[in-house]
Symmetry: C2
């Protein structure tokens, strides 16, 4: 049984196996070494994610994941009084929900590598353009998310990771270090192939620093070059 890496999050995780997606790229990197399992729930915030915990990560599992990314906040940060209001979670509750998710995973297995990922920045103009492309003149003029509010949630996510001694990826901050960072977002919120590449690189970096480096992990079975064409059974005798 090879180890499992679980990607737990909202639509940005759910879409991570699309062409150029960060989840698929991870699965490719860890092929024959670990299984990358997507547990992405479009539209979900941390409050709703709590209902899934016992189902996705049952206590007493014989094979809990070796690593899990927790990537929520984009929906929690939807503004009150705007079209995404239903998804809004107050900032203090967001932090506490993340804490409860981490605690549950640590209870599953204390050795699990847990990585917190902040929401990405919001390109408000990109969001409005996207709304107009969907609804034309009926589109709202007020963005349902702001970059300023995403920053508040990102900050709490990073601070909680520090408090708990966990690695984190500050995507909000990382992306905006690049001039023209809006190119990382396809609709002002979700990721383009270039945005996916950043998440992929950051996750691989954090995993490697934590000892989960694909090049250092063994293949599940012999590499084909180690198989003697005339005596193949020899390569497999110690399985």
């Amino acid at each position: 049984m090879r180890p499992q890496i679980v990607l737990f999050g909202d639509s940005i995780t759910a879409q991570s196996f699309r062409s150029g997606g960060w989840g698929a790229a991870l699965a490719d990197t860890y092929t024959r070494k670990a299984d990358v399992v997507v547990r992405g729930y479009g539209g979900y915030n941390t409050r709703w994610a709590l209902f899934l915990l016992n189902h996705l990560f049952p206590m007493g599992s014989a094979t809990p994941p070796v690593a899990t990314t927790i990537f929520f906040g984009a929906n929690d940060a939807a503004l009150l009084g705007r079209t995404g209001e239903r998804q809004h979670v107050p900032i203090e509750e967001y932090r506490e929900n993340l804490r409860r998710i981490v605690r549950h995973l640590k209870n599953c297995t204390p050795t699990m590598l847990i990585v917190l990922i902040t929401p990405p920045p919001i390109d408000e103009l990109g969001r409005l353009e996207f709304a107009r492309s969907l609804y034309g003149d009926k589109a709202t003029e007020l963005p349902e998310r702001t970059n300023e509010m995403a920053a508040v949630y990102a900050k709490q996510c990073v601070e909680l990771a520090e408090e708990l001694g966990l690695p984190s990826i500050n995507l909000w901050s990382k992306m905006q270090k690049t001039e023209g960072w809006q190119k990382f977002l396809s609709d002002g919120l979700h990721l383009t192939a270039e945005g996916n590449a950043i998440v992929y690189e950051e996750v691989v970096k954090v995993f490697s620093e934590a000892g989960l480096s694909a090049p250092n992990m063994p293949y599940d079975f012999p590499h084909h070059s180690e198989i003697d064409g005339k005596n193949p059974e020899k390569a497999f005798q110690n399985l």
Copy 2:
């Protein structure tokens, strides 16, 4: 626990989670409905694949896959007396090895949907160009695989599927129905994004015809639009 779809094969399966890959596209299509698990072994032929069967598909598993694609033959068809000779498997043995793989999977669970995929066509000029790009003047002038020989293996694969009453995908034949089919192959053998798209479409079609259609499968948890922002617990009470 959601159902598992296993992709069992050689490098064409192993690489199926690269950007534009057919495996990643399947994982995206079945997100929240089934897990797509890659079991691709670069360089392997059916003879070597047999050694993995009991490990990858243990008898008596409580959660065997609901579906498995078996996608071998490109290495079995490597020619004797050429650079890939070590991988060669005689045509009669190839067919019998496939039969043993199918029998093992059916013994795991008789209800498993098993789909046989033939090797793709070989673009011999593309193979030679690829060899020259690697080895320059030292590259062999004789291709280690021919399109004619790939046809022989593809035919046996399809005939075995018919004999066993299993669905199959004749990739060798399907690809060559398109003028300029060489564009489907990146090095005369492995798949480009366009080649991956064909495999993806064919697998989705066969899965759907067999009743494993993603649009008809239930989500693992409530869609976010079904969650009442004020009473979220209601949507989750029947889990």
